[in-house]
Symmetry: C2
Subunit: 679 residues, 2 copies
């Protein structure tokens, strides 16, 4: 050790080195590449560089730290401590100087690139590295003898103080620059956007003096039916508020193809749908900011994930090409634009937006977001990920290869096209159990913790009563009917005589199963009809056929595990999904719900530029399978119509839930088909 040098060891990184005595801790950290945050650039203002010196003997590090290893608290630190309070033992890294050998702990909140711990063990941890961050700079005052613009001097300061390339400034930011510089006494805090590409950084906003933040971003999952957004703290990665609204495009068409048709049939139709969705996005952003008490100006980024049709409509592109082979996207790469171009004008006017890349004409940025969140390319075993919405995105893969496709399940899984179907809202039946012996049902509704056969249920449900059946409810109902022998493997509902249940009532030439009859008190009759079961069969066949197609490609008959993504995935019971044959047969404990994985992927991309780079690279590697032109899709689709399947054995399922062998004949089914032909 040279004279006048001291050894500094940072924990938890373990980075160590010699620095001249008198070096501020922040400088030492920067020199040694230690991740210690700072917004004010060492002016003792932001306190982001707080750290804790450790005293005593550290055999592990081979060092003993004496009291006095750091300089005593100086005036800046004492003032900060008085005004805002330093935690015991904490020091400001920019003020405390290293006087002798020392061990310094950097707490998580002082790490710029802190890890955001994900809940699920399988998923990767995310390191905070958002595209937009706050930095404080001191700008040279104008000099008439060497005239230059305020922006040019700000850029010189950013270069000198933060090693940042010259930033561009949108006109709106430029318009506020001069006042901010003067109000801040030539010190300003800027929100600096540095994308993950080579493009020049961009000023998103400028505040006079020190602006503490935090900055926020919106992670938006734009679905055909619902739009969900998460207001996310860009420092911690925490979600401050979440909200969802119906996609107002529903009035133009229930599913994707009907919206594409609307665009084809109506001049200006695409533009109308674009305007509708943009207005909804903006309202959502506005509402989230209000709900969380966040200044809209602090929301400086948005990340959008969505399927291809939503993508095109949000970007103002007519989706007509997506309605027919070869399903050509206008653009498939990630899109980086001004958030205002997406209609997001209720947040910072210079906020940036990032739209994840597309995988294929039917497999969108939402699937890319799921892939980003679930990381199949890092899985040792073969994982099948299904994200069920109006369209199902299906990803199959492991470290060797990853495949993806999309399958048109339609909205039945969301409670649409179901006779008593409704959205998942209070009053909707979400859980169903049918006693195999008595064939009597019991159920739970959203907003009530009691089962329908428990005392006090009617009071607990309240005046609204039981209103209908939602997606997870209809799936459980059909699966329970199959398990109770009320329907056969072909999906036919047996008559009251054949099933021995008075709950089965005739409806034309088919039968329905009554779950709940409140007609006596002016309420609804909620029954599962033969038509409902056919709708579920069509949807689940499409889903299963897509998964099988990917398995064919890899040449396997089974997968190791299944991940159910989507809000739907969070509510559907793996057992019931498997009874219906929605997913391939695996041990039940190998089925996991990933929650809203697309939304999670959007949040990851919001928090991490590295993640954006990663998914842009990965989508190119994903093998795309187009279900619409695969001859075997139809074959798989037909075979998957049976419950659970006409051919595939479902041995794992049989082990936990043997299904009764019943057959209600073809007569009623024929009748159904004949009626359909006439209608």
């Amino acid at each position: 050790m040279a004279q006048g040098e001291a050894l500094v060891i940072f924990t938890p990184s373990g980075k160590r080195g010699l620095v001249p005595v008198g070096t501020p801790v922040l400088d030492a950290a920067r020199r040694l590449g230690v991740d210690l945050d700072s917004v004010c650039g060492g002016r003792g203002i932001c306190s982001k560089c707080q750290c804790t010196p450790a005293y005593g003997s550290f055999p592990k590090h081979g060092v003993t730290v004496a009291e006095g290893a750091l300089s005593p608290m100086n005036a800046v630190e004492r003032r900060y401590d008085e005004k805002r309070g330093l935690k015991p033992g904490r020091r400001l890294g920019c003020q405390a100087q290293i006087l002798a050998d020392v061990v310094i702990d950097v707490p998580p909140e002082s790490q710029l690139h802190r890890q955001v711990v994900r809940k699920a063990a399988e998923a990767r941890a995310v390191e905070m590295d958002p595209a937009t961050r706050l930095v404080m700079v001191e700008v040279a005052e104008p000099d008439m003898h060497a005239p230059s613009g305020d922006l040019e001097r700000l850029n010189a300061a950013l270069g000198a103080q933060w090693d940042v390339a010259p930033a561009t400034a949108p006109l709106a930011v430029l318009a506020g620059l001069q006042q901010a510089l003067r109000k801040g006494g030539w010190q300003v805090t800027v929100a600096l956007h540095q994308g993950h590409s080579d493009a020049a950084p961009c000023l998103v906003d400028v505040w006079p003096g020190f602006f503490e933040g935090p900055l926020f971003g919106l992670a938006i999952d734009l679905g055909s039916t619902t739009i969900a957004a998460h207001l996310t703290d860009l420092t911690t990665g925490e979600v401050r508020a979440s909200a969802g609204v119906m996609n107002p495009q529903i009035r133009f068409g229930e599913d994707l193809m009907s919206r594409v048709s609307y665009a084809m049939m109506n001049p200006g139709g695409a533009a109308d749908m674009t305007a509708a969705v943009r207005a909804a996005l903006n309202d959502l952003a506005h509402g989230l900011a209000a709900e969380a008490g966040v200044e809209p100006r602090a929301i400086v980024e948005a990340v959008l994930v969505c399927n291809p049709v939503m993508h095109h409509l949000a970007l103002g592109i007519d989706p007509v090409e997506l309605g027919q082979a070869p399903f050509a996207l206008a653009t498939s790469d990630a899109v980086e634009i001004a958030a205002a171009d997406l209609g997001l004008v209720s947040i910072n006017p210079a906020a940036r937006a990032y739209v994840l890349p597309m995988i294929a004409g039917h497999v969108g940025a939402d699937a890319a977001a799921v892939a980003l969140s679930e990381a199949p390319e890092q899985s040792d075993d073969l994982v099948l990920i299904v994200d069920v919405g109006t369209n199902a995105e299906i990803i199959l893969g492991n470290r060797a290869r990853v495949l993806a496709c999309s399958s048109p399940t339609g909205p039945a899984f969301e409670g649409a096209q179901i006779s008593a179907g409704q959205r998942a809202a209070p009053g909707a039946i979400e859980r169903v159990r049918i006693d195999p012996a008595t064939k009597e049902p019991r159920f739970r509704v959203i907003g009530c913790d009691l089962w329908s056969d428990e005392p006090g249920f009617a009071e607990a449900v309240g005046a609204g009563g039981v209103t209908g059946i939602c997606g997870s409810g209809i799936i459980e109902a059909v699966a329970e009917m199959r398990m109770a022998g009320l329907i056969d493997a072909s999906g036919l509902v047996g008559s009251a005589a054949a099933t021995g249940s008075a709950r089965v009532v005739p409806e034309g030439r088919t039968h329905s199963y009554v779950l709940h009859d409140a007609r006596a008190s002016g309420g609804p009759l909620i029954a599962v009809t033969q038509g409902d079961i056919r709708a579920i069969q069509l949807a689940k066949s499409a889903l299963y056929a897509g998964a099988r197609l990917l398995m064919d490609r890899i040449g396997v008959d089974r997968v190791d595990r299944v991940v159910l993504a989507g809000a739907f995935g969070a509510h559907v019971s793996p057992l019931h999904a498997m009874v219906l044959g929605m997913i391939p047969d695996v041990p039940l404990d190998h089925v996991r719900s990933a929650g809203n994985a697309a939304g999670t992927g959007a949040r990851i991309a919001l928090c991490s530029r590295a993640a954006r780079r990663l998914i842009e690279m990965n989508v190119r590697r994903i093998e795309k399978v187009e279900t619409a032109i695969e001859p075997r899709f139809q074959e798989h689709f037909v075979a998957a119509n049976a419950l659970p399947h006409a051919v595939d054995p479902f041995a794992e399922l049989a082990r936990v839930a043997p299904l009764p062998v019943v057959d209600f004949g073809a007569g009623a089914a024929d009748g159904t088909r004949r009626r359909r032909r006439r209608s």
Copy 2:
């Protein structure tokens, strides 16, 4: 020469080389770096690669060219010749193959980087190299088995066929891409903007199939008083149409400082002025397109030059900082933005705009444009360039160094603040001569070729009659009054008695000189008042003092030549300007008018990316002088009040126009001053 090779020599470049027999001329040109244009990329569509083979013996080149050195006209050429007509001897370079040694002449219109010959011998020639150009590409069709976006395949084609980096596409362009590709059978012509910086190229528009163009750009000179724009062909550099309008900001304040005051005193005032000027720019663009019969969509670029206050207001920046020392600009570098951001929405919606860099807080992009046009940094002798508008920009320099300043001349030189002043429009007196013996005036008015003392003048002027006096008219009038002995060196008008002219009439305690009296027929009385002369004296003193300040810096008492820029410079007579002492004393034939040099600079920047690079580099090198803080400015200003000057000898002027020595005493002048104090 290897077997199977032929020698090809291109004229006028003289570039030569061996190519395999059968090589198309266009390919040979590209291989040898010969400037041969092509938009369609060799498809025989655009005919931009036309060239003329020369036959016979060429001792200079050491080659004899036989008939048959090029392949015979093929079907593509014959079809083109039939449909559109090839000039005799011409061939399509992409079709004609080199079969034996040949000399090929590339006519100017087939050169992509053709030189635009400037009128003035001193100015540099400009090589066409606009930022936006047309290229035709053949794009791969979408493939469901390897899905990618239309934009990504277009970019791949641009890279393969034109060696262009991947281009970004504004949403508006993206929205039209798919239809254009399909309508054009996967061939499209794109307007590709490649700035002079490292930024990625950008698609400005896409046309199905082959779009011949030409593309156009707007060169805009945004002055405090007038806005002039030139619609320029981006292939040839020719101006297709020009137009000018009044700057509507005049209603907020006559000169720059009054507009800055308006912004300071009125909340929203700056925004109102921004909206006004943007609307005017847009109307001007719209009108020019209509006048020239040019489709607005073909106008893909705009270059803006203006002074700093106009610059800030056009960009939507409050100019308040420009109203007070240290005159800090919000930004001084060149600005490259969407033209729509400047309110130019009547041209191509994705058109780009380039605003030249600023020199200093008082010396704007207009002065930079003058420097670009006049190139003082390439001058062997010391040149003084003055661009006279409401503010005068003054540049002095040679190869060694270049200096610049701005001086607040006010609008008197433009006919404002003059009792009978008016804009340069039909009916305005623009030329004045006064007989030194009789003191009788004669004059010419705009819109009439006759002098006022020629027969038929009244009829020729027509019903509108003589309406006032414009900028060049008032300068000539005052200079002629000085030469005729009607005013003395201090600017005082002598009485009728003292001058012996009945045209001098008293006005209060001062005198006026009547140029034209049409009161008998209900017309105006047009006289030059003492106040008019004082206004001209203030203006010319400011101009001269600015020039002297720059001369001080270099340490010279005289300059070698003077260039008068601006519309004003085109109309003012050098002799009269020198009698007034507006400009330093040089031989009269060393004074040249450069016309609208700022507008020319804008056109050069529109046509040449190299010119943009050059001026951005040069403005950094120009030494800036701030007249407002130079102590000697006031001293120079006072000394310059006399006509021509109190101290400087003006020996060259004396040689061609000796001025009478008269002195009309101080009484009247004092009276004027006293009256002013009371008002």
